[in-house]
């Protein structure tokens, strides 16, 4: 039996795994399921069709699975919200449920993310996992974040925009189109500052790949255009035989061919 505070309101105790802890004044709705080893602190609200994995940690004041913030479909039932294993959700984080559209993908949070104080995740956003998101990072609806991303405070990811894997966004950065992987991006509209070598090293990239990416970045991002031209991409592709450079080039191609430079707008 889960360890539920007598001052909590849990409408579906059967949905909670055996060793889940629930603090006082927390509300857990009727359609919520919570995996083993998860700790839900006090004054937390978890509602909607929300599925939470194992070993997550919810701190006071966070609101999970609330209906999306869109006026037109106020009465339509909200979509699902899935949160994977090992996520740390800090104080006052707000994660919306998926949108009411029949084909809406739902809000998906992968594994081992850390969402710091006051982060907001809008409906149908997708966080693939292993990310660290600093205070007040805001993901708008259908935003997508690949693995091992780090953001700084007040970063804003616009609707349907993607943040590429291993990328770092500086404070107040606005990801207004797809941000390439392996990069440090800053400003609004953002520009690519350099390769995120520190994060790559921490994630165990070999020196050969880091050097290849550095040289590729020098060719691709000269600060003049939003996306590198086809010639630059071809020349980089020919010059470097490296899986990460190939992924970088493929990502940029996909983004630059999409409306407003946001590939999720096309692919869903």
């Amino acid at each position: 039996m889960a360890n539920i505070s007598p001052k909590a309101v849990v409408l579906n105790p059967a949905g909670l795994a055996g060793d889940v802890q629930v603090g006082p004044f927390t509300f857990i709705g009727p359609e919520v399921s919570v995996g083993a080893g998860t700790t839900v602190g006090n004054n937390v609200t978890i509602t909607g069709r929300t599925r939470i994995g194992a070993r997550c940690d919810f701190l006071p004041g966070c609101i999970i699975g609330c209906p999306p913030n869109q006026g037109s479909d106020a009465d339509a039932p909200a979509g699902p919200c899935a949160i994977g294993d090992g996520n740390v959700i800090r104080e006052h984080v707000i994660i919306e449920a998926g949108g009411p559209a029949a084909d809406a993908p739902g809000t998906v949070i992968g594994e081992n993310n850390m969402l710091m104080v006051g982060c907001q995740i809008a409906h149908d956003a997708e966080l693939k996992g292993e990310g660290i998101f600093a205070n007040c990072t805001r993901f708008e609806h259908h935003a997508r974040v690949e693995k091992f991303v780090r953001t700084s405070a007040f970063t804003n990811v616009m609707p349907f925009a993607t943040v590429g894997a291993y990328t770092f966004t500086t404070g107040y950065a606005c990801v207004d189109r797809d941000a390439p992987p392996y990069a440090i991006v800053q400003g609004y509209p953002f520009r690519v500052r350099s390769v995120n070598t520190e994060n790559l090293r921490r994630c165990g990239f070999d020196q050969h790949s880091i050097e290849a990416l550095k040289q590729a970045f020098r060719v691709l991002f000269d600060g003049r255009a939003e996306f590198p031209g086809a010639d630059q991409l071809r020349s980089v592709e020919r010059s470097f035989d490296d899986q990460h450079v190939r992924y970088l080039v493929d990502s940029i191609r996909r983004s630059s061919a999409s409306p407003a430079g946001r590939h999720r707008r096309r692919d869903g």
């Binding site: 505070s5 001052k7 603090g23 006082p24 004044f25 602190g41 006090n42 004054n43 701190l59 006071p60 004041g61 800090r90 104080e91 006052h92 850390m114 710091m116 104080v117 006051g118 660290i132 205070n135 007040c136 700084s152 405070a153 007040f154 404070g171 107040y172 400003g187 609004y188």
Partner: protein
């Protein structure tokens, strides 16, 4: 608060929590077993006080505040660390304050008579001295010191290890990545979150700092001389400090600048990275000091 309502069912005060009978605790508040709350302090609804937290007297802690939870630092391993809050502070709604980390000196400290706006965040190992004002949604990263009387306007994000000088002011939405000297108005150059510069003297700060008319003129002259062209700042500061006739505030300004220039990236407190800062030990609660290793390895004072 209506005395006829039975508040015992709508509060959770853990065994061991030391809540003064003169403190008022609102509904849906959760107070952890290691917390101490002094007389006259008011906790409104939905306030959480966790961790080894000591709150002084006559503070106002508004709805939804979360005080004393664990730091957002991946190096933190779960050892007991502390948060000390003085007297007569005002915390707006949804303010979050975290306890310190082992590597940063075990302590987060908030002095007296500070005004912290709604949704603001004071992270691990920060030191707020007295009479500071933090606007709404101000985000202080770890290891920051905000000196007496500093004003930080809304939505300012401050980098780790930064010092905000005495009676200075930081304009709204300014990304602060280096130390802000005392008596300075530091702000973005106009466009949203663009790089910040020293814009001039914070006049109200000169008043609040209790400077005489003569000292005010001297500070204005020093600021326009030092920050007209920051390229040669180090040279100008050294040159000014060799003069014997500097007034107190100008000397304070020059010494601050020299310390900042010594630290990495213009942040003096970078010298305390991984060390216990000198502010920590005198402010730590006695119970913490009893368990602490003897004094060693402290950063330069």
């Amino acid at each position: 608060m209506d005395e006829t309502i039975d508040l015992t069912v709508t509060r959770e005060i853990a065994d061991g929590a030391r809540v003064d009978p003169g403190a008022r605790v609102g509904p849906f508040c959760a107070i952890g077993p290691e917390a101490t709350i002094g007389p006259g302090t008011v906790l409104e609804a939905h306030v959480t006080v966790a961790g080894h937290t000591t709150i002084g007297s006559d503070n106002l802690i508004s709805h939804g505040c979360v005080i004393g939870t664990t730091p957002q630092d991946l190096k933190y391993s779960g050892q007991p660390t502390y948060l000390v809050i003085g007297d007569r502070n005002r915390f707006g709604p949804n303010v979050t304050v975290h306890v310190g980390t082992e590597a940063g000196g075990y302590l987060t400290y908030i002095g007296n008579h500070n005004d912290i706006g709604c949704g603001a965040h004071v992270a691990h190992d920060c030191y707020l001295d007295d009479d500071t004002q933090l606007g709404p949604r101000v985000m202080l990263a770890g290891h920051i010191r905000v000196e007496d009387g500093a004003v930080i306007e809304e939505m300012v994000g401050v980098h780790h290890f930064t010092t905000i000088g005495r009676c200075s002011r930081v304009g709204a939405r300014t990304p602060v990545r280096r130390d802000v000297p005392p008596f300075i108005f530091f702000t973005s150059t106009g466009y949203y979150a663009s790089p910040a510069i020293v814009k001039g003297v914070h006049e109200a700060g000169l008043e609040a700092g209790g400077l005489s008319e003569r000292e005010k003129v001297q500070v204005r002259q020093a600021v326009s001389y030092l920050f007209e062209d920051e390229q040669a700042l180090a040279v100008k500061v050294d040159q000014m400090l060799t003069r014997g006739d500097l007034s107190g505030p100008v000397r304070e300004l020059c010494r601050f600048c020299r310390k900042s220039l010594q630290g990495h990236f213009g942040r003096f407190r970078e010298t305390f990275r991984g060390k216990m800062p000198p502010e920590a030990r005198p402010r730590l609660p006695a119970e913490a000091l009893a368990e602490m290793p003897p004094e060693e390895g402290e950063g330069p004072g």
